[in-house]
Amino acid sequence: MAGASDAAVEDAATGVAEIEKPRSGGGQKASGLSGAIDRILSLLSSVPFGIVLLMLLIIACMIGMLIQQQELDSFPAYYAELTPAEKTVYGRLGFFDIYHAAYFNLLLLLLSLNIILASIDHFPTAWSFIARKKLTASPTYAMAQKFKEKVEIPQLGRKQLTERASEAARKMRFKVRLTEEDNRTTIFAERGVWNRLGAYLVHIGLLTIFAGGFMTSRGFTGMMEVSPNKSSNRMIQNVFNIDNANTQHAIGQRELELPFTIEGVDIQQKLINKSGSIDAGNTLDWLTRVRIVDQEAGKTTEALIHMNTPFDYRGYRFFQASFNPLGSARTIKLKVTPANGSPQEITIQRNGEAKLADGTRVRYIEFNPHFVVGSDQKVTFGSAEYENPAAHLAYVTPSGEQGDVWAFTQAGVNQMSNAPFLKSKFLDTGAFHFVLTDFEKVPFAHTLSIQFDPGARVVYVGFTILCLTLIAVFFFSHQRLWIVIEDGAVYLGGNSNRNRLGFEDRAKKLAALIREPVQAV
């Protein structure tokens, strides 16, 4: 099965692969402007040019991977370690933000043009497989194909052989078309001709994704910190600014106004080990409940956003993005002992209230995971960890007596007993003694990412087209077999645009089917 001789016999219309042909325009020297346009068009529509563009794109992406991009968190440290020369050269070449550089976009534009033009150029050849099928063939033609086989059964005539062969071809699931000529019959057996069009659909999918990507670039994304009882209609966007002349860079922030207000209702963090830390490593999920107050539409919507479960509203999408790691508590459990009464248990939600048996209202104001008193006698955060948790409370008795107090864990209370000043200032204030018996850990705030992306739907359509057509292209093939029948002999020859071995197996089985019953007789 030598390749060279086959290729010589193969003619363009029936060729196995569509081989790039030099354009005829290249030969005749057209003068002036039209000649130049012709040459540019022929370059833009050529497949080798497309491959060169692909390689340039690969190189640009490799640069983008090997040189850190400005939006990475680690970029400031990386940038600081570069030499001034590197900063200047990389900066001027746009390497710190290569995927948004003008030349990168130009590359994508050229590639899109190339895909469109090359597809237009190649489409007629592919279409001819469907519109102009070669229905007849000579034994010589069949024997010049990549797959070829001759079956000789002298005792059978042309008609019997034709029946046998067409039955065999149908059995091997080929579509069969019969053409009678004076001295021979040709069966044109074919499978999966639509496969020839698959490549074009793949490219349509790709162009759809590009178009969607362009639409996405008109959208925007911002961040908003959410905690219970906090509401805002502004989100924050990072702005990167690299000054190549001074080899400086800065990350600024910009506020964007939303057409609605987000009110924090509740935040919750589900932990693997409930008494462990609130690090990501011990976390199952972060849940954020918000209320979207929309003045324009005149309605209010409740939403739950958690990990991998975004929420859509008016073209905006809300994602659980990150959290403020300062430890807080979603609910607190308190043991309250009145000065002259028996202790009782209450549970209060964050920013919520509870009523004691005597009608006193207790409000949970804030939480401090690591309660310390600074040199200025003010309460501050020792750290973000739950080292000395305390809840700040306010109470109003039925008689109107008001006060605020800190509730500590039993360990905290014991510790404080050694410090009389602190004890008198924070513990023994008023008619109640509070002990923080339990609390549900939660971060101080969650951060939502809010995205407005007008292109995502288009991109998804492109994704769908791309995946389906790629599967259709690469898991199927266009197989053609010419079965030329003369008295006593059948010549089989054919080719396949893909999966040659599979095709040849099928064709060999077909030949065996033509041969077998006779041998059995």
Binding site: P48, D73, L284, D285, F319, R500, R515
Partner: protein, 538 residues
């Protein structure tokens, strides 16, 4: 074998391997039997608990041993075409696939039991929450069985079974790295607990596997096409040198420092949470010198081979092959000494030099919630003293461990295996070429595998994009892992288009397929190992 087939072909039109009667499914038994076996074992493990099967780590080691044996049998078969040897290799590989897949499936159950199936009982998640696709170990085990499965499927005809001789050594290297990474579990980061994970990573392991097979086929194509083993030697040398340069560009040399000829590993502290890698380097005496000499001999070999290729200088070729053998000896010695030192060195903490305190301090100070280093805002002296204090307090607990730097250790083995193959291809290469199927046939297999890998990588990119859009709010962010996968996909796109571009097909196409796989490997390892980004866990 091809001689026999050729002569039969000439006399009889129907090749003997194809018969209308023998069901095609029988040819796929080496792929199907282990698949079924592993699923049975999986079911048994779920039903009867941990006592009925070996632990997942044991199964993976058994798989590695089987693959190595299969590779050896199939490589020998290149020069000694014995049907028994081929069959033995194939069925051992099949056994390896069984162990490999079983190990992964058993790990699935073990991972769930470890958390008491809390995600299913308390969070309404499914069994797929525990699919072992959490870190580089899991992915490597899956990559290996994906590649083994693809190889066994393609080996469904006698004249395609040669492919195992190249793909099983590669698969063994991947699994070897997995063994060095170690099978300890990690807590799954919440963002990964999505139903997209089994889809996305599953597609990754299978398409990476198919890409590996296309790489092996391209190498075979080049051998058959008459590319000299000397040229391959030059390419292999260039590959490792480029690798070193890229690592250096990305923030300095890691294990091996060519300026001081020292080869060092991170010391580790064994704790309850597993190993803690300390970002210092403990030089292993002698290993750096041997590794440096191995590299130098490789470079010398490449230079001599270049002289042979361009000047047709026969004595350069001969000396080059001698140098090649010297490099092989040196590399084996490097690995032997490496293991000896790791096993026997004591008092590791005292070997941490004071110029490494800064790095240790930097590591200890950790990162804030936004991923920025806390050390960046601190005076240098504070960072250094934090590092020094840590070494003073914990120096005694520091030890060397083979699991500290899996990628770098696997790289030592990869260099050795690549060098062995260069030497092998130079040995009676005419006979080797004769025993390989025709160029056209190999080409058709490359086209098939690249087609599947291309479609697979596209689905990988798309599922990754959709997942990213569902959890991070953007379908494409030029994250280094995303870009890496895109680049590999583009290279395969280049391959596919080179086939329809006049004058680009044949050898040039095969180069595209080679580069495509190298980029897949870069995405798979390089990105996690040297680049910052969202996929840093795997």
């Amino acid at each position: 074998m091809s001689q026999a087939i050729k002569s039969i072909n000439a006399s009889m039109p129907a090749a003997p391997e194809i018969s209308a009667k023998r069901p095609a499914i029988l040819n796929f038994l080496p792929a199907i039997v282990p698949l079924a076996g592993a699923l049975l074992l999986f079911a048994a493990r779920i039903k009867f608990g941990p006592s009925v099967t070996p632990a997942d780590g044991t199964l993976v080691v058994l798989a590695l041993l089987s693959y190595i044996f299969a590779a050896a049998a199939l490589v020998t078969n290149f020069w000694a075409p014995i049907a028994f040897l081929q069959r033995l290799g194939l069925w051992t590989a099949s056994l390896g696939f069984f162990f490999n897949l079983s190990g992964w499936l058993v790990r699935w159950v073990a991972g769930g039991e470890r958390e008491n199936w809390i995600r299913m009982t308390e969070m309404g998640k499914t069994f797929f929450s525990y699919i072992p696709f959490a870190n580089l170990y899991d992915l490597s085990v899956a990559f290996a069985f994906g590649a083994a499965f693809a190889t066994l499927l393609i080996s469904n005809r006698p004249n395609t079974r040669f492919i195992g001789a190249l793909s099983f050594p590669l698969i063994s290297l991947i699994l070897l790295m997995a063994v060095f990474i170690g099978d300890s579990f990690i807590n799954l980061p919440p963002v990964l607990d999505s139903y997209w994970r089994p889809i996305h990573v599953g597609v990754a392991s299978l398409s990476y596997g198919v890409a590996l097979v296309s790489f092996a086929l391209s190498v075979v194509y080049l051998i058959k096409d008459g590319v000299k083993s000397e040229a391959m030697g030059v390419a292999v040398t260039a590959f490792f040198i480029v690798g070193y340069v890229v690592v250096w560009l990305m923030g300095g040399f890691k294990a091996f420092d060519p300026l001081s000829f020292s080869y060092g590993l991170n010391p580790v502290i064994v704790g309850q949470q597993g190993l803690m890698n300390i970002s210092a380097r403990i030089p292993l005496p002698g290993v750096g010198i041997l590794h440096g000499l191995s590299l130098l001999t490789l470079i010398g070999m490449a230079a001599l081979f270049l002289i042979y290729i361009y000047k047709n200088n026969e004595s350069a070729r001969r000396v080059g092959h001698l140098v090649l053998r010297a490099s092989l000896v040196l590399q084996i010695a490097t690995i032997a000494l490496f293991f000896y030192q790791v096993k026997t060195m004591t008092n590791v903490g005292s070997l941490v030099s004071s110029d490494q305190y800064y790095k240790i301090g930097y590591q200890l100070m950790g990162k804030d919630a936004a991923g920025r280093s806390n050390a960046a805002g601190q005076p240098v002296e504070n960072v250094i003293s934090a590092g020094a204090n840590f070494v003073a307090q914990n120096g005694d607990a520091m030890v060397l461990n083979l699991r500290s730097n899996p990628v770098e250790i696997a790289a030592l083995f990869t260099m050795l295996v690549a060098t062995i193959f260069v030497a092998l291809f130079g040995f009676r290469s005419e006979k080797l070429r004769e025993n390989l199927p025709s160029l056209e046939k190999i080409d058709s297999l490359i086209y098939k595998t690249v087609g599947v890998a291309f479609a697979g990588l596209a689905i990988l990119l798309v599922t990754g994009a959709v997942w990213a859009n569902e959890s991070w709010g953007r379908y494409w962010g030029w994250d280094s892992k995303e870009t890496g996968a895109l680049v590999a996909w583009l290279a395969y796109g280049g391959y596919l288009h080179s086939r329809i571009a006049h004058g680009w097909s044949g050898r040039r196409s095969a180069y595209f397929a080679l580069i495509g796989f190298l980029l897949v490997i870069f995405t798979y390892l390089g990105v996690s190992y040297i680049l910052p980004g969202l996929h840093s866990y795997a």
